[in-house]
Subunit: 1018 residues, 2 copies
C-alpha cells in the first residue's frame, strides 16, 4: 500500500472546511479590503506606513517613486506561507473579539498574550506604544503642491534615500545603535505616561481618509482587514496576533479609506528580519482577499479552522519553477480567474451535481481569450451555439408572433429610457452617416436602374419611414433596415422586363409587393422562421463575410471611380503650363463662318436652336463652361479638356485618411495616454472625429471634391409619378395574379436576408437580455413592404453590416471594478431610441442639406470601408482564413486549434472560401436574383460536410453539439452518478479535483522553541 491510496481519502483540512462552509444559508460575506502597513523608524519617530493594499490584486507602494504600482498578482514564496502557518499556530488568535477602538483591541490582544505566557508583562507598554503610532497612507499629492516640496526634500534627501532608510532593514550599525538608545529613553519616559493619551490614533475618519478617491473602487459593504508588520528592537521573539472583531468597527486612521475593520493581523518581531516579516504580511494579506480563505476567516471557530484554510489554499496554489520565471516580474492580472463559487462548491456536496452542467461551458468559452484549458481539458466541449426559445415551433396560428409580442412588451418602456446615454450620441451619428450614405448610394443606383421611378428622394423617405417604424415596433430594434444589393438587382430586372413587355412598372411592382407582403405574413402566421435554427455558424459567417466583402469592394470601387471621373493628366509638365488649355469651339458650321468673320459669334446655329434660340446670337463661346459648351453643341479642344487636376488625389487622401484615422483612433482606447474615460470617448467617437477632421481638411483646401448632395425639397424624383400608386387600371387583370410568382422570389430573398441578419444580431455572444423577436420582425417587414409598394418607395430589409456596426457601437463594459480586474463585456445597450433618432434624422436630412453638403463623398466611402473591415473582425471564419498565412507555432491559441487538427480546419475553411467565391461570382452576374436561394444551398453544403468531418471537429469549428454527441454526454453523466469516485480523474475538469486529491497537511507536532514545523497527514 502506498500514498496513492490516500489520495481518494478526503483530508482532515477539507473535512473541516466542508463543515464550516457547508451550511450555505448565510448571506455572502462582505468583500475584504486589505491594507498592509509596515513600521517605519524615522529617526526617533516611529510610524506605520502603508506599503501595499489588496482588493483583489496587490498594489504596492513604490518606495522611491512614492506611487502605487500597477495592480498585479501577488507572487508569494512558499516559504512565507509556511512561516505564516507557523505564526498562526503559535501566535494569539482572537476570534469574535468585541472591539470598539484600536487601543482597546490592542490592550485585549496584549492581555491575552501575557495570559498565555507569550509576552513578558514588562513589554506591554512598549508594544502598545508601537502599535498605536500614527498611520501614514500613500495618497496622491497633486503635482503643483508637491513641486514646492522639492527644495525641502533635497536637504532631507539622505533620510529619504532608501539606502539609509532603516525601515527597509538596511540600517547602519552605528546609527541603529544610536536609535536604540534614544528609543529606550523614549520608552522610559512613556512608562510614566498614560497609555491612553499617548496614541496617535483618532476614532473619527480623517479628512485624508474621506477625500481619498480610492473608496470608489471598493464595494459599498466592504470591510477592511489590516495587516501590521514591523520590527522592533525590544522583542526577542515575534509578537503575532490574528484578531476577528464581532462587529466591524471604524478604527480611525488605520485604514486609508473609511471602511470598518473586521480583521487585524499583527506581526512584530525582533530587528533584522524586516523582509521576512514583510513577506509574511503579504502572505496573510493575499490569503485575506482569497475568496475561499476569507470565507474561512469569517466562519472559523478556532485556530485550527484557519490552519485548515491555509492548507486548503496551499493545496490549490499554482507553482512556477524558479528557473523558468523571474520572481521579480509582476504578473498582470489575468482576464479571467476561476470563480470563487466553483472553488467553494467543492465543500457543499449538494451543489457539485449542478456544477457539472455549467462549468464545462464556461471553460470552453474562456478559451477564446489568452488561453483556454491546459493540462487535460481534452474532454471539454465547446460552448453550445443555441438559438434560444424564440425559434421553437409553436404549432399554433401566429403562436410565434404572439409569444414575441408577449416577450417584448414588458421591455417596451425600458427600450426608451435606457436609450438616454452619452454613448447613444456617438452611435446615432455613426449609424446616421452610414444610413444616409447607403440611402444616397442605393438611391442613385435605383434611379439609374428604374429610370428615376425610384430615386434618391424615394430612397431617403423610404429609409426614414420604414426604419423608424421598424425600430419602434419590431422585435429586435437593434436591426437597421436598408436597401440591399439583391433587391436592387431585382428592381432592375423587373423594370427592364416591364419596359420590354409594355407593362406598367409601378403597378406591377405594387402587386408583387402586396403578394410578397402577404407571403411574409403567412410565414409569420405559420412560425416558419423556426427553420432558421438549422443555419449553423458556417452559413451565418459565410453570409456576413460576403456582405462585408461587398461593402469593402464597393467602397474601393467607388474610390477608384474617382480616378476615372477625375482623370489625372499624367503627362503634365509644370514648365509647359502654357501648352495646356481647353477651349470651347463653336460647332462646325459656325466654325467655318467664324473662320471668315474672325468673330466668336454664331448668328445661325441649327444645333443650338433646339434649346435656346434667343441668346444664341449673343453667345461668347470662350466664356461658356464645359457643360454649356457641350449643351450648345460646341466642342472642347485642348490638352487639358479630358483632365481634372487634384480632385482624384484629394479624394484618395480623404478616403484613405478617414479610414486609417478611424482605425487609429479606435485603437487609441488601448494606448497608455490620457485617462481611461478620455480614451474611451475618443474611441467611441472615432468615426465622428475622423469625419469632422477630414471634412475640415477638405474645407481648408477648398477643392471641389464630390460632396454629399441631399435633395432639399420633398417631391418625387420623377415628375410624372405621385406619392401613391393606384393598384388598378394600367395593367391587364391577370398580371395581378401572375405577380405572385416573382413575389415568391422576393419573399425568399427578404426572408433569408432578414432572418440571417437577425440570427447574427441575436447571437449569444452579444449577451442580449431582451429576447429576440424573429416573427415580429418579419411581420413588420411584410407590413412595411406593402406600404412602400403603395407609396412607390424601395423595399427594405435588415442590413447586416450596419446592424452589426450598430450593436458594436452600443456595447457595454463593467465600469468600476477592483484595480487590475479586467472590464467584462456586459451586453449591448438594447433600446429603440438610437434607431428611431437615426431614421428621423435621415428624414430630416432633406432640411439638413446646407450642412451635409460640406461632407465630401470620399470621406463617406472611407466610413464604408471601415464598416466593412470592422465587421470582418470577430468572424471566426476570417480568423481561420488568417491561419493560412501563419506558421503553426505562431498561431494564436484558439480553442478549436487545441482540439481539431490544423489540416481539418484548413479544409473546412477552404470549403467555405470556395462557397463564397461561387456566391461572389453569382452575385456579380444576373443570377444575383437567386442569391438568397444560394444561401439555402450553403446549408446543404454544410450538411454534406457532416460526411467529411467528424462531429467532434464540427462541434469545435461550427460550434454546435449535434444530437449524437449530446446523447453520449448525457450517457456519461448518468453513468457518473452511478459509480462515483471510480473515474474521477478522467477528462472532466468540471468536477474540481481538490476534494479527491489532497496535500495531506495536519500538524502533528509543533515546537516553536525548536523551530520545527512539521507538516504531515494522518
Amino acid at each position: 500500500m502506498n500514498i496513492f491510496y490516500l489520495l481518494i481519502l478526503v483530508s482532515p483540512a477539507a473535512e473541516r472546511l466542508r463543515y464550516i462552509l457547508g451550511e450555505d444559508d448565510d448571506p455572502p460575506n462582505p468583500t475584504l479590503f486589505t491594507e498592509m502597513d509596515t513600521l517605519q523608524h524615522d529617526g526617533e519617530e516611529m510610524e506605520w506606513k502603508e506599503s501595499a493594499r489588496w482588493i483583489k490584486f496587490e498594489e504596492k507602494v513604490e518606495e522611491g517613486g512614492e506611487r502605487w504600482s500597477k495592480p498585479h498578482v501577488s507572487t508569494l514564496s512558499l516559504h512565507s506561507l509556511f512561516e505564516l502557518r507557523t505564526c498562526l499556530q503559535t501566535g494569539t488568535v482572537l476570534l469574535d473579539l468585541d472591539g470598539y477602538s484600536l487601543p482597546q483591541i490592542i490592550d485585549d490582544v496584549i492581555e491575552k498574550q501575557i495570559e498565555d505566557g507569550l509576552l513578558k508583562p514588562e513589554l506591554r507598554e512598549k508594544i502598545s506604544y508601537v502599535l498605536l503610532r500614527k498611520h501614514r497612507h500613500q495618497t496622491k499629492k497633486p503635482i503643483h503642491r508637491s513641486l514646492a516640496d522639492i527644495g525641502k526634500s533635497v536637504s532631507s534627501n539622505t533620510n529619504r534615500s532608501p539606502v539609509r532608510s532603516p525601515a527597509t532593514g538596511a540600517s547602519f550599525h552605528r546609527s541603529t545603535e544610536d536609535l536604540r538608545m534614544r528609543q529606550n529613553s523614549n520608552y522610559g519616559r512613556l512608562r510614566h505616561a498614560q497609555s491612553r493619551s499617548m496614541n496617535d490614533i483618532t476614532d473619527t475618519p480623517s479628512t485624508d481618509q474621506l477625500k481619498n478617491k480610492f473608496i470608489k473602487k471598493i464595494p459599498k459593504d466592504a470591510e477592511a482587514s489590516n495587516v501590521l508588520v514591523g520590527e522592533v528592537d525590544f522583542l526577542d521573539k515575534p509578537f503575532v496576533a490574528f484578531v476577528r472583531l464581532i462587529q466591524s468597527t471604524m478604527l480611525g486612521g488605520v485604514t486609508e479609506v473609511p471602511v470598518p475593520t473586521r480583521f487585524l493581523f499583527i506581526l512584530l518581531g525582533p530587528s533584522g528580519k524586516a523582509k521576512s516579516y514583510n513577506e509574511i504580511g503579504r502572505a496573510i494579506a493575499t490569503l485575506m482577499v482569497d475568496d475561499l480563505f476569507s470565507d474561512v476567516a469569517y466562519k472559523a471557530r478556532d485556530r485550527d479552522d484557519l490552519i485548515a484554510g491555509i492548507d486548503e489554499f496551499l493545496d490549490e496554489v499554482i507553482v512556477l519553477p524558479p528557473g523558468e520565471w523571474d520572481p521579480n516580474i509582476r504578473i498582470e492580472p489575468p482576464k479571467k480567474v476561476p470563480s470563487a463559487d466553483k472553488r467553494k462548491s467543492v465543500f457543499s456536496l449538494n451543489e457539485a451535481g449542478q456544477m457539472n452542467g455549467t462549468a464545462g461551458g464556461a471553460a470552453g468559452g474562456s478559451g477564446g481569450g489568452a488561453g483556454g484549458g491546459s493540462g487535460s481539458d481534452d474532454g471539454e466541449m465547446p460552448a453550445v451555439h443555441e438559438i434560444g426559445e424564440e425559434l421553437v415551433w409553436t404549432g399554433r396560428f401566429c403562436g410565434g408572433l404572439y409569444l414575441d409580442i408577449k416577450r417584448k412588451l414588458p421591455w417596451f418602456p425600458s427600450d426608451f429610457y435606457e436609450g438616454f446615454h452619452i454613448q447613444s450620441i456617438s452611435t446615432i451619428l455613426f449609424i446616421y452617416l452610414g444610413c444616409i450614405t447607403n440611402a444616397i448610394t442605393f438611391g442613385g443606383l435605383l434611379g439609374d436602374a428604374t429610370d428615376n421611378y425610384q430615386g434618391v428622394m424615394e430612397s431617403f423617405l423610404g429609409t426614414a419611414m420604414a426604419g423608424s417604424v421598424f425600430c419602434f415596433f419590431a422585435g429586435q430594434p437593434l436591426i437597421i433596415l436598408s436597401s440591399t444589393g439583391p433587391i436592387l438587382i431585382f428592381e432592375k430586372l423587373l423594370f427592364d422586363f416591364s419596359k420590354g413587355n409594355s407593362i406598367d412598372y409601378m403597378e406591377f411592382r405594387l402587386w408583387i409587393g402586396l403578394h410578397s407582403a402577404l407571403q411574409c405574413l403567412i410565414l409569420v402566421a405559420t412560425d416558419a422562421s423556426f427553420i432558421i435554427k438549422y443555419i449553423t455558424r458556417f452559413t451565418e459567417e459565410g453570409f456576413s463575410t460576403l456582405i462585408s466583402f461587398i461593402f469593402i469592394y464597393d467602397a474601393i470601387k467607388k474610390m477608384i471611380g474617382a480616378f476615372k471621373y477625375y482623370p489625372i493628366n499624367t503627362d503634365f509638365k509644370p514648365d509647359y503650363v502654357t501648352m495646356y488649355k481647353c477651349e470651347c469651339i463653336a460647332p462646325d458650321p459656325v466654325n467655318t463662318t467664324l473662320f471668315n468673320a474672325s468673330a466668336p459669334l454664331a448668328p445661325n446655329n441649327t444645333n443650338i436652336s433646339v434649346y435656346n434660340t434667343i441668346n444664341i446670337t449673343a453667345l461668347d463661346w470662350t466664356q461658356l463652361s464645359k457643360k454649356e459648351c457641350l449643351k450648345y453643341g460646341g466642342s472642347l479642344v485642348g490638352k487639358s479638356c479630358k483632365f481634372v487636376p487634384d480632385l482624384a488625389l484629394m479624394s484618395f487622401i480623404l478616403f484613405f485618411g478617414t479610414y486609417s484615422m478611424t482605425v487609429t483612433l479606435k485603437k487609441f482606447k488601448f494606448s497608455r495616454y490620457f485617462p481611461t474615460k478620455v480614451r474611451a470617448f475618443i474611441a467611441d467617437f472615432s468615426i465622428v472625429f475622423s469625419i469632422l477632421l477630414f471634412c475640415g481638411i477638405d474645407a481648408c483646401f477648398g477643392l471641389d471634391t464630390p460632396k454629399l448632395h441631399v435633395p432639399s425639397i420633398i417631391k418625387p424624383t420623377r415628375l410624372d409619378r405621385g406619392w401613391f400608386v393606384f393598384p388598378f387600371g394600367k395593367n391587364p387583370w391577370w398580371i395581378y395574379l401572375a405577380s405572385a410568382l416573382p413575389a415568391l422570389l422576393v419573399t425568399i430573398l427578404i426572408f433569408m436576408d432578414q432572418q440571417i441578419t437577425a440570427v447574427i444580431v441575436n447571437r449569444k455572444e452579444h449577451k442580449l437580455r431582451k429576447a429576440a423577436g424573429y416573427h415580429l420582425d418579419l411581420f413588420w417587414v411584410g407590413i412595411l413592404m406593402a406600404v412602400c409598394s403603395f407609396m412607390g418607395l424601395p423595399w427594405y430589409v435588415a442590413a447586416t453590416v450596419i446592424s452589426i456596426a450598430h450593436i458594436d457601437s452600443l456595447k457595454m463594459e463593467t465600469e468600476t471594478s477592483a484595480p487590475g480586474e479586467q472590464p467584462q463585456f456586459l451586453g449591448v445597450r438594447e433600446q429603440r431610441v438610437t434607431g428611431i433618432i437615426v431614421f428621423v434624422l435621415t428624414g430630416i436630412s432633406v432640411f439638413l442639406a446646407p450642412i451635409l453638403k460640406y461632407i465630401p463623398m470620399p470621406v463617406l466611402y472611407g466610413v464604408f470601408l471601415y464598416m466593412g473591415v470592422a465587421s470582418l473582425n470577430g468572424i471566426q471564419f476570417w480568423d481561420r482564413c488568417k491561419l493560412f498565412l501563419m506558421p503553426a507555432k505562431h498561431q494564436p491559441d484558439y480553442v478549436f486549434l487545441r482540439h481539431v487538427p490544423l489540416r481539418r480546419i484548413h479544409l473546412f475553411t477552404l470549403v467555405q472560401i470556395i462557397c463564397l467565391a461561387i456566391l461572389w461570382i453569382l452575385k456579380s452576374t444576373v443570377a444575383a436574383i437567386i442569391f438568397p436561394v444560394m444561401i439555402l444551398a450553403l446549408i446543404l453544403v454544410r450538411k454534406m460536410l457532416d460526411l467529411v468531418f467528424s462531429q467532434h471537429d464540427l462541434a469545435w469549428i461550427d460550434n454546435i453539439i449535434p444530437e449524437k454527441e449530446k446523447k453520449k454526454e448525457d450517457d456519461k453523466k448518468k453513468k457518473k452518478k452511478g459509480n462515483k469516485g471510480e473515474d474521477e480523474s478522467e477528462d472532466e475538469p468540471r468536477f474540481p479535483t481538490p476534494s479527491v486529491i489532497k496535500i495531506p497537511m495536519e500538524p502533528i507536532q509543533s515546537d516553536p522553541q525548536n523551530g520545527i514545523h512539521c507538516i504531515s497527514s494522518k
Copy 2:
C-alpha cells in the same frame, strides 16, 4: 525562542547541495532535453505517446489539435511536487547504471525492484512488456499527405475522440473491463514468448527521428531525459524508478530526436489516476530542465541528494494564489529568467562575494522590460553609465591616440570579413539613400549660401572621400560623416563676411580649415577628449533629441515646401475647365504692336536681344514653355499660370506613404504571419521595400514629381574654381594668422558634434565588443578637414541620426534558442564594410544618375522623417516626455518610476524641454554658430541640477553613480563583510536569500504503507 531563529541556520538540504555542487572544477553539465511519454491504450494495443517536451520551457501535445502548443512556463501544482518527492523516497533510484539498451536497463530496474521487495516477481514480464512498447512521437505531417487521412479518420472518429480515449483516463466502465480481459490474455500469451523479441524498440535511430527538424533547437552536446508515465491494470501500487546512466546512450525510438538518453524516470501505477501520474511526470520533467536540479541530478550520490534537490527547488518556487490566477492560462516565457549561475553561486561561497557587484547591475537593467525588481528592490542601484577606458586621460603625448590604435588594430582584419552578411545589404541601401539625400540637401543649401563655391557636386565628392577614408581608418567605423547644420551656418556667415570685406572666400576658408585641423590634432595629442566623460545622459539625450527634431522638422518643412512650390488651384471647378489657361504673352512693347498687327511675332524686342538676337524674330510666343517665355521677357497671363496640378498632393501621398509603410513593415516583425525569417527579412528591408513601392507608384502615375537629380559629370559647380585651393596670394598675410580665431569656433563645433555622437554610438547598451576610438576619430576628422579645405570641399563631422540608424540596422540577435526563449540582443555587427561601400556608392552615384533619377524626392523626405522618428525611440528623455500625457496608473513600469517620485521626474524632464527649446530658438537664429558652445552650457545646467535633485534621483534618471553615492556603497560593502548575518535581510537583493532563509525540509519518517509523508526540519 521561535522559528525565526532557525532562519539564519543553513538547512541540511542546502548543506548537502553545497557539498555536491561546491566543487566547481568539472565542466558544465550538458543541456537536458526532456520528453514525457504517456502510455496509451488503443484498443488492445498499448503504446507510448509523446505528450510533452521541455528544453527550457514546456511544449505540450494538443491531443485534439495534433500539434505542439506554444512553449510556456510549466505551472505545477504543489501537490504533484510533494507526490514526486514521495515517489523518489519510496521508489527505486539507480544512479550510475551501466545501460546500453532499453531492454537491459528495464531488466535491471525490475530486478532491483524485486530485490527490494517492491514488486512481485510474477509481474516482471508484464511490466517489461509495457515498458518496451513502441514510442509514438508528435511529428508534423505535411498538409498534403495528411489531407488523405481525412476520410479514414472520420470512420475511426469515435476512437479518436477524446471522450472515449482511455489514455486520458476517461474510460467507460464496461469497455475498460473488456480491455482488461483482452489484455490479460495478451500477457498470458507473452509469458511464453522471449522477452527480448517482443519489444517494439530498435536501437538505431529511426528515419522519423533523423528527419525531425526539432533537433536544430537542441544544443549539440545535449542529453535526453525520458519520463514515462502510465496507468496499467495489473499493478496495485505504483512502480517508480529513477535511473541515471553512467554513459548517455541512444535508446532507439524512445526519444523523438536522436539524442542520447542519460536519465529515465518511470512511473506506472494502478488505473484510475492517470491525471495525477501525468502531473507527477510533468513535475519531474520540469525539475530535470531546471538548471540547479539537473546539476544535482548529474552529481547526486544517493537518493537523499535528489530529495535535497527537490527541497531546494521547492524553496525557490514562486507561488500564485488560486483566486488570482487561472491555472489553465499558459504563461508565456518571460523575457529574462534569473541566471542559473546566480542561483548556483549560493552553493559555492567563494563566489558570493564577487556576485555583489554584477547582480545589481543586471537587475537594474532588466527593469526596462516587462517589469523589474519587485518586493524589496529599493536598494538596488541603476546600471552604471560608464564611458569606458577609452576616455582615461593618459597624460602622455598622443597617449590616447596610441592606445586607440593599439586597441583597434587587432580588430582590423575582422572589421572586413565580418561585414559580409546579408544584413549588410539592407544597411548599405538604407544608409546610402540617407547619405545621398543628405548630400544633395546640404549641397543645395551650401550652393545657395556660398554662391555655388561649394555645391551639390562638391558635397557628393566630399562626402564620398571623407566618409570612406573615415570608415577605413577611424576608431569607430560605425559613425557616418556628413555635413551638419551648424557648419552650414558657419559657411554662410563666413561667405557673407568675406564678400562684405573683399576677402577671398576660398583662401580664407582654407586657412580656417588648416588652423582648425591643427587645433583638432592638438586636442588629439593632449587626450583632450577625456572631458567628454563628464557629459551625462542629460546632455547626450538633449543633443540627440534636438538632432532628431531637426530631421523631423526638415522633412516636414520640405514636404510643406512642395505645396508652395506646386500651388494647388483650390478654386478649380471641373465644369469651368474652359476658363483655365495660361498663355505666354509677348512683352509690353511687342504686345502693343501685336494689338495692331494681330500677329504673335515680335521682330524687335530689346529685352530679349540680350540673350538671343538671332531667333527672336521667329518666336512663336504661344509655343513657348513657361521658362522660355519668362526668359524672353514674355508674361504669363491666365488663371492656371500660378498653379501646378496634382504634384503637391502626389508628393504628399509619396511622402506620407513611404513613412507609414516603413513604420508598418518594421512592426511586421512582431506580427504572426509568415515564418520568423521572412518577417525579419521584411522588417530589415522595410525601408528598401517602401522606397521601391512608392517609386513604383510614382512611375505608374507618371507624374512629374520632383526627382533626385544627381550631377552626372565630375566638375566643380562653379566654373571659376578648380579642385585645389592655393593657400597664398589672394588675401593679405595677417589673414593667415587671424583665421585662427574663427577656426577656434569651428574646432569647438567639430569637437562637440563629433564626440557627443561618438559617445551616443559607443553607449554601453549597444554592447560593442571592439572598443571605441575617440582620439583616433578626432585625428581623422582633423586630417580630413585639412584635405577638404585644400580641395574646397565642405567639412565633415559625425552625423548623429544617420549614425544611430546605421547601428540600429546592424543589430544582431540570438538566432537559435530553446523554444520560448526570447531572442537576446547580442550586439552590433561592427565592421567597416558597410560604411565604406556606402561612401563608395555615394561617389559612384554620379554615374548612377540615370537610375537614381526615378526616385522622387518626397519618398526620400519620407525616409528622413522615418529616420528622425526612429532615432527618438529608445531615448529615455522622450519616454519621460510621454509620461506627461499618461495618467500615473497607466504608465509603463520603468525602473526609474519605481525609485523616483513622478513630480521630480517631470521637473527634470521640464528642465530638459526648456533647455531644448532655448537651443532650438538659438539654432534658428544667427546664434546657431555658438550652438556647440550652448551644448557646453547644457553641461553647466546639468551641474546646477545637482543642487535641486538628490544624487539618488539623478542616479536613476541620469544613470550615473556619483562619487558620493559610490563611496557609500563601498562603505556598506566593507561593513557587510565585518558583521555577517546581522543585516542580511536588508535592501540587498544581490545576495540571494536562499542560503539564509530556508524552508526546513528533511524527512523524519515516511511510511509508504500508511501513506503518510511527513515534511519537517531538524
